[in-house]
Symmetry: none
Subunit: 204 residues, 2 copies
């Protein structure tokens, strides 16, 4: 979808800000950055960009903006998706090729216009979620994670971990899905959330 000059400036500002700080700007900061004195104007811009599918955010949530990657804005051809036929059931006694299904499944069904990357899992910390060593997790890049979700978290600048997220006051509890392991509770300040797990892929 087309975009105006000003909208592009806003979009670029958001991208740069998030890139630099790791979290999205408040409306006031956006206003400052673009020379706007009214939050209403900022709000309108953000709403327009959201309507055009260039970003995502939660209603009335501060710093909840996720910038989505722009495809089709440039003449780069969008990568097509490899779709596999989906067979829900198998008709009794029939060989599989005889079953007709119009449905398919592909990675695109999962990524669905989100900004996604993949991480290979090391260790058994998510065993009870049936995510095990060697699996690939599909992570949606977002700084807008919610309680109870499986997230990729960076604690105190050390390695990234895969845990369930729970906010407790000014602390954050990172809960492994493995009864043999203990949760990590740390101040929210020292945690960087990289994204939310939206899928799992395993190869044999």
């Amino acid at each position: 979808m087309a975009i105006t000059k000003r909208q592009r400036q806003v979009y670029d500002f958001l991208q740069e800000f998030i890139q630099r700080n790791g979290y999205s700007p408040s409306f006031e900061e956006i206003g400052d950055g673009l020379g706007l004195s009214s939050l209403a104007t900022v709000h309108k811009h953000i709403s327009n960009l959201e309507k055009k599918g260039l970003l995502k955010r939660d209603y009335n949530r501060s710093r909840s903006i996720d910038v989505l990657p722009v495809r089709g804005m440039f003449k780069r051809t969008p990568p097509k998706d490899l779709a596999l036929p989906l067979m829900g059931r198998i008709a009794a006694g029939q060989p599989i090729e005889a079953v007709e299904t119009p449905e398919t499944i592909s990675l695109g069904d999962i990524t669905r216009s989100k900004d996604v990357f993949v991480l290979q899992v090391k260790g058994e910390s998510m065993k009870d979620e049936h995510i095990v060593d060697g699996d690939y997790v599909l992570v949606e890049k977002t700084n807008n994670t919610h309680d109870g979700e499986i997230v990729v978290a960076l604690v105190e600048g050390t390695d990234a971990t895969l845990k369930r997220l729970y906010r407790e006051g000014s602390n954050i509890r990172l809960q492994p899905s493995n009864t043999a392991m203990k949760p990590i509770v740390v101040p929210a300040k020292s945690v960087q959330l990289q994204g939310r797990v939206i899928g799992v892929l395993r190869k044999y």
Copy 2:
């Protein structure tokens, strides 16, 4: 439908402008770029191109031009696979986007020119393999299955099941990966093997 020389120039100008700036030009800018002093002229060009299906735009919306790719005008791109960037590790303290990896992962990596279909899993019979209700299994259509592999088996023309396969003389043992469930042992004759599981996909 044919295109005139001038129309071609306008089309090319639009493409280049959008490519360079990330947003479409105003009619005035188009005029400047092509040496036209009347907006009416520009308007007519744009209208013509739109009628010929070479671009799309919204009525009375500024900078709303979307240039559509012309089939046959450029080389056709082969259907590509949707590839996601693979980040093996995350550099300490760095936000994820800073990590450079050339690797990607896609369904094509798994299917690898095999004949593959997908089945959604019902029930908990493969729980100990970390395949659970709702997961999608990628099945390679083959009748060349080996001992110990997870297979899709059709027993006596009843429903298909997901089990580990073990041959025992003229019998076949289908072993659920769930300690709470018992294996099925049946004559090899009454089992139809539909394929071997080569991957798992889960959506949240």
